[in-house]
C-alpha cells in the first residue's frame, strides 16, 4: 500500500547519482593524475610514482608537513581540553557568555576571525607571527567544534546516573572521574581528531596569522596552485586526503554525532 516508501521515483535516483558523481569525480581526477606520467593535467599517459618521489625530495614541503603536524597536535590538544570544559560547562550550567564565545567562531566567515586575530597579534600583543600565532588561532575556532561534540554526547545521556552517584555520596570530582569522563570519552576522542583535521586543513585563518619564514602545508599548496601547477600538487593532495579520510573514519567510529554536527 505505501508504495511511495517502498520505491522511490527513478528521477530521484538519477539526480542523487549525479550529485554523488559531482562530489567524487573531481577528487578521483586528482588521485588519478597523481600517478600520471605527464607534466600536464590533461590526459592519461602512463603510470608513474615520479611525483611522489619528487615530493620526498622536496625539502620545503617536508618542512611544511612537519610544521603543520606540530601546529595540529598542539592546537588540537589545547582545543580538546578547553572545548571539553566548555561543552561540560554549557551543558550543566545556564551560561550566557560562554556559548556565544564558543559557537560564534564556528558559524562566522573564517576571514573575520583571521583578520581580527591578525590585528590583535600585531597591534596589541606585538607578537611576531609564526607557529605560536597559528596555534592560538586554530585553537580559537576548534574549541567550539569540540564543545558541540561533547555537549551532544552529554545531551543524549541519562541524568539519573549523576544523581545516583551523588546520592551514593560521590564528590563532584569522583563523579567526574568515574562517571562523566568514561561516558564522554568517545566524544572527546572524536573532538580531538576533528580539531586535528580542522587544523591541518585550515587555509583561511592560517593565511592571515602565518608569519614569513616557516612554511606551512596549506600555504605551500596554495603557492603551488597559484604560481606553478605541477603534478606534485596531485601527489601531496592524495596523501593529505588519505590522512584526513583515515582520521575522519576513526573519529566517526568513536562518535557519530559528528555527522549531525551542523
Amino acid at each position: 500500500m505505501p508504495s511511495f516508501r517502498a520505491k522511490q521515483p527513478a528521477a530521484l535516483w538519477v539526480v542523487a547519482i549525479l550529485v554523488y558523481a559531482f562530489l567524487y569525480i573531481p577528487l578521483i581526477i586528482v588521485i588519478v593524475f597523481s600517478f600520471n606520467d605527464s607534466k600536464l593535467n590533461a590526459e592519461w599517459v602512463g603510470f608513474t610514482l615520479h611525483w611522489y618521489n619528487a615530493l620526498l625530495h622536496n625539502h620545503e614541503m617536508l618542512l611544511a608537513a612537519r610544521n603543520s603536524l606540530i601546529i595540529a597536535v598542539s592546537a588540537s590538544f589545547l582545543a580538546t581540553v578547553l572545548g571539553t570544559m566548555a561543552g561540560l560547562a554549557i551543558h550543566r550550567y545556564k551560561l550566557k557568555v560562554l556559548p556565544v564565545l564558543a559557537f560564534t567562531p564556528v558559524a562566522m566567515p573564517e576571514i573575520l576571525l583571521g583578520v581580527s586575530l591578525l590585528l590583535f597579534f600585531l597591534q596589541v600583543l606585538n607578537l611576531t607571527l609564526g607557529m605560536l600565532s597559528i596555534i592560538i588561532a586554530h585553537t580559537t575556532f576548534s574549541i567550539g567544534f569540540v564543545a558541540i561534540i561533547v555537549r551532544a554526547r552529554l545531551q543524549g545521556m541519562d541524568e539519573s546516573i549523576f544523581e545516583a552517584a551523588r546520592d551514593l555520596g560521590a564528590t563532584p570530582w569522583q563523579t567526574f572521574r568515574q562517571i562523566t569522563l568514561p561516558l564522554i570519552r568517545p566524544a572527546i576522542i572524536a573532538g580531538a581528531l576533528m580539531s586535528f583535521t580542522l587544523s591541518i586543513d585550515d587555509f583561511v585563518i592560517t593565511f592571515f596569522t602565518k608569519g614569513i619564514g616557516e612554511p606551512i602545508l596549506p600555504i605551500q599548496i596554495y603557492t603551488m596552485i597559484k604560481v606553478a601547477v605541477t603534478p606534485e600538487v596531485n601527489a601531496v593532495s592524495t596523501l593529505l586526503m588519505l590522512l584526513t579520510l583515515t582520521l575522519i573514519i576513526i573519529a566517526t567510529r568513536f562518535d557519530n554525532s559528528m555527522l549531525g554536527k551542523s
Partner: protein, 298 residues
C-alpha cells in the same frame, strides 16, 4: 557542598572563557576600534598626536573610513555582487541537495548512515584540494573544455575559457558548500512522520501533491538552516574567487584580504570586515526568523 559545586563550575568554565575572551572577544573589539582610526603612512595605524599645552584630547577616532566606504559606489557594487553569488550558490545547492536528502531520508535505515557518510567524506578532504580539482577540470586543456568548445565550434561560436571566470567561481562555491545543505535537510526530512503521507494518499493526493502540500512545507526549517550555513561562508569567501576567478570576479573577502595583506590599510580593512559582520548578522537573523514560526507548527 554548595561551595564545592560552585568551585567546580568555576574550574570548568573559567579556562575556556578566559581563552575565548582574550583570543576571540578582544580581537573583535580591537577590530571595531581600528575601523574608527586612520591608516599610518607605511601601513598600520596613524599615531595619535597629543600636542603639549593642547587641552582638547585627540582620541584619534574618526568615521572617515565609513564615509569613504559609502562615498564610492564600487564597494556597494562588490557587496551586491557577493550577495548575488551567495544567493545563486544557495539556490543551486537547495536544488541539488533536496532530491538526494529526500532519497537518503526515505531509504532503509541500514543504508542511511552509509549514504550520509558518502556525502561527508569528500568534504573531509582539504579545502584547497577541492578547489584545485576544479582547476584541472575547467582548465583550457581539460576534456570538458575541449568537449564544450568542439560543440560550440559546430555552431560557429568562438571557444570559451571556463577557468578564471564567474562560472568557475560559482561551481567552486557550490562544490565546497553542498554538504552544508544536504546535512541539515536530511536531518529535517528524516524526522517527517510517514503517516502524514499515508493520510494524504488515502485522501487522494497524487505524488506531486503529497510532496508539495506535505513534505515541502515541513522541510522549510531544514532549508532555512541549510541556507544560512551556505550563504554566510560564501559571502565572506576569498580563496575561491582568488583561485578560480578572473581579475574582475573579486568579492568582499578579496577586498578585505587586500586591505590587510596588500595595501596594508588596516582601518579600511576593519571597516569592510564590520560591514561583512553586519551583513552576516542580518542574514543569520533573517533565516532564523523565517524558520521560527514554522518550527512551531511542525
Amino acid at each position: 557542598m554548595q561551595t564545592s559545586s560552585r568551585l567546580v563550575k568555576w574550574l570548568i568554565s573559567a579556562p575556556p572563557l578566559a581563552f575565548l575572551l582574550i583570543f576571540f572577544a578582544a580581537p573583535s573589539l580591537i577590530m571595531i576600534f581600528t575601523s574608527f582610526r586612520l591608516p599610518g603612512e607605511f601601513g598600520g595605524l596613524a599615531p595619535v598626536h597629543v600636542l603639549p599645552g593642547d587641552t582638547t584630547v585627540d582620541s584619534g577616532l574618526t568615521i572617515e573610513t565609513y564615509q569613504f566606504f559609502f562615498s564610492d559606489f564600487i564597494y556597494f557594487e562588490i557587496f551586491l555582487k557577493s550577495f548575488t553569488v551567495a544567493a545563486l550558490t544557495t539556490v543551486i545547492c537547495i536544488a541539488m541537495a533536496y532530491p538526494l536528502a529526500l532519497l537518503i531520508a526515505r531509504s532503509e535505515k541500514k543504508f542511511r548512515n552509509l549514504m550520509i557518510m558518502l556525502v561527508v567524506l569528500p568534504f573531509a578532504s582539504n579545502f584547497l584540494i577541492r578547489i584545485y580539482a576544479w582547476m584541472i577540470i575547467l582548465g583550457p586543456e581539460s576534456v570538458l573544455s575541449h568537449m564544450i568548445n568542439n560543440v560550440l565550434a559546430v555552431f560557429g561560436i568562438a571557444p570559451v575559457t571556463l577557468l578564471f571566470s564567474p562560472f568557475a567561481v560559482l561551481i567552486g562555491m557550490i562544490y565546497v558548500h553542498l554538504p552544508f545543505m544536504i546535512l541539515p535537510l536530511y536531518t529535517n526530512l528524516e524526522k517527517h512522520d510517514p503517516i502524514l503521507l499515508d493520510a494524504a494518499q488515502d485522501l487522494g493526493a497524487n505524488g506531486w501533491q503529497r510532496f508539495w502540500y506535505v513534505t515541502w512545507p515541513q522541510s522549510l526549517p531544514g532549508i532555512f538552516s541549510g541556507s544560512a550555513l551556505v550563504f554566510i561562508p560564501v559571502l565572506g569567501m576569498f580563496a575561491i574567487p582568488d583561485i578560480l576567478g578572473g581579475t574582475g570576479d573579486i568579492m568582499i573577502g578579496n577586498l578585505i584580504k587586500d586591505q590587510f595583506l596588500g595595501t596594508r590599510d588596516w582601518p579600511f580593512g576593519s571597516t569592510l570586515s564590520i560591514m561583512l559582520t553586519l551583513a552576516v548578522l542580518g542574514i543569520a537573523g533573517l533565516f532564523s526568523w523565517l524558520a521560527k514560526p514554522l518550527t512551531r507548527i511542525t
